[in-house]
């Protein structure tokens, strides 16, 4: 018989009993996620361009000294 020892379970159970756990599903939380998704999509596109251009120009630089 194996016994799982988990301090996390005890901590979470205690927090639950004390009413200290909250789901982040309120409108302001969901709005923040949507806004971040939009921003990160722009970042992702920006990164793809920088990454591709870095690779292309790197082939023209010879290091020999």
């Amino acid at each position: 018989m194996t016994e799982v020892i988990s301090n996390s379970d005890k901590i979470i159970q205690k927090l639950q009993e004390e009413g200290k756990i909250e789901s982040l599903d309120k409108k302001e939380d969901l709005d923040a996620i949507i806004e971040m998704n939009e921003e990160m999509e722009i970042v992702s596109r920006e990164y793809q361009v920088k990454d591709r251009n870095s690779q292309i120009s790197a082939s023209k630089v010879i290091l020999t000294d």
Binding site: D25, A58, L63, T64
Partner: protein
């Protein structure tokens, strides 16, 4: 016999008409007097190991005589820095010894130029440090690059940056190339972020006539004065800058510290220090042709499954800091230190870090994590001067998809602990104070 020179000898020097000697000389360095008898006395083994400071190979390739070498930073007069190091094993007078340092060699200018030397040095480091990689000799580097070379490779005329990246990828690393032209003011910050992560970087340094490869392996130990003069972070993303401005939040980025970095340069003795803006400053007294050299590219040799690279990880963190539950007050200041580390090293450090809130510590330690994680420590200038922080964000480095907070493992700051609910895509918040804790310092090694 030296394995690197012997490889160059059989693959190149032995095919010449002029006779080259196949043997080389290895000079072993001890920090105190040792006698020949010490090497035949079992009780002296520990003492020899303590006194051993490394070795230098002299090869018969005039005028570039310095071959494979590893020297401990302990014997330097100035060693106010922290760097990547590995244990190199060797024998001296039949006794096995090892040294903690970074592998170095000068180029012989025929089989290995600066580019091949840099690849060799980097693979020597990774192979001695991690079981996943193996040491690569000059002929193996040349053989690997055969399929992407349109001309003969020996005598070496150097490599382009893409070829260096190709070779490192073939040797098992997940390389990424960063160009100064593309990343602009973010370039030095990204370089610093990877160095803070304990990842040695291949650096390309150029002026109008020079094109040189070298390694960056660490930086000076940050001082309180350097932290004091850190200036507000200017985000290249105007929308992000606008959001921080509108809430009057001043951000300092630890990776913007103006400090000297430590380089492994095959034209100079090991552990050279220079500012990123003037990487050739140590050349100038004797070689004026190296004036105005700038760092134009760097290659980050990442573990293959680090899919979330530094630019995206940093942007994610700075966007996430503005979300309501992370509790950054309007009209406040925050200092952020971002780095990559292994889950094993991070948890090993955390497990016995008693400055951490014990409940938060247990929650993090029992969270399943990938092999590598991004860490953002949230602090203030005053706290950071004492190597303390009061907030932390952990990201999954294997998650390059940043939609719906997918990379987030946990975040904790000012009484809120945020993580995903078990087996759910929904975030939850615990009211759990973190307090202040001692910052993570396991990525680089200091010799003071």
């Amino acid at each position: 016999m030296d394995k690197v020179y012997r490889d160059s000898y059989y693959s190149y020097f032995s095919s010449k008409n002029r006779q080259y000697k196949r043997d080389s000389i290895r000079i072993s360095i001890f920090k105190d007097v040792v006698s020949a008898n010490d090497f035949r006395d079992n009780t002296k083994r520990e003492e020899l190991l303590k006194k051993y400071m490394g070795f230098i190979v002299l090869r018969p390739t005039e005028p570039n005589l310095i071959g494979r070498s590893t020297i401990s930073p302990k014997i330097l007069k100035t060693k106010h820095f922290e760097i990547c190091t590995t244990n190199i094993r060797t024998t001296v007078n039949s006794i096995k010894l090892y040294i903690d340092g970074f592998p170095h060699s000068s180029q012989d200018a025929e089989t290995i130029s600066c580019a091949e030397t840099t690849i060799w040095s980097l693979m020597e480091y990774f192979s001695n440090r991690y079981a996943e990689y193996k040491s690569e000799l000059p002929s193996e580097i040349i053989q690997t690059l055969k399929r992407v070379s349109t001309e003969r490779q020996i005598p070496s005329k150097g490599l382009d940056i893409q070829q260096i990246s190709y070779a490192l990828r073939a040797f098992g690393l997940g390389t990424k190339i960063y160009s100064k032209t593309e990343y602009g003011v973010m370039f030095e910050n990204l370089l610093s972020c990877y160095i803070e992560s304990g990842i040695p970087l291949v650096i390309a340094m150029q002026n109008n006539t020079i094109g040189h490869a070298l390694l960056c392996i660490g930086h000076e130990l940050p001082t309180s004065d350097q932290i004091d003069v850190l200036t507000n972070k200017n985000f290249t993303n105007p929308r992000l800058q606008g959001k921080y401005n509108s809430r009057n939040i001043t951000v300092y980025d630890f990776n913007d510290l103006k400090e000297k970095y430590v380089f492994i340069d095959d034209n100079h003795p090991v552990y050279q220090t220079n500012f990123l803006e003037s990487p050739s400053a140590n050349y100038l007294p004797n070689y004026p042709g190296w004036a105005n050299c700038k760092i134009t590219y760097f290659i980050a040799p990442l573990y293959t499954k680090v899919y979330l690279e530094a630019f995206t990880a940093q942007n994610y963190i700075y966007q996430f800091l503005l979300t309501p539950r992370i509790n950054i007050n309007d009209n406040s200041e925050i200092l952020v230190k971002i780095f990559l580390t292994s889950n094993r090293s991070f948890k090993d450090w955390l497990a016995t870090n008693n400055s951490f809130n014990h409940d938060v510590r247990d929650l993090i330690l029992e969270t399943a994590m990938p092999k590598f994680i991004w860490v953002a420590e949230l602090s203030t200038k005053d706290l950071m001067k004492n190597r303390k922080a009061n907030g932390i964000i952990l990201l999954d480095a294997t998650e390059a998809n940043t939609m719906n907070n997918k990379p987030l493992i946990m975040a904790s700051h000012k009484g809120n602990y945020i993580s995903f609910a078990p087996n759910s895509t929904e975030l939850q918040k615990f009211a759990l104070p973190l307090g202040t804790f001692s910052v993570y310092q396991n990525n680089l090694k200091s010799f003071i």
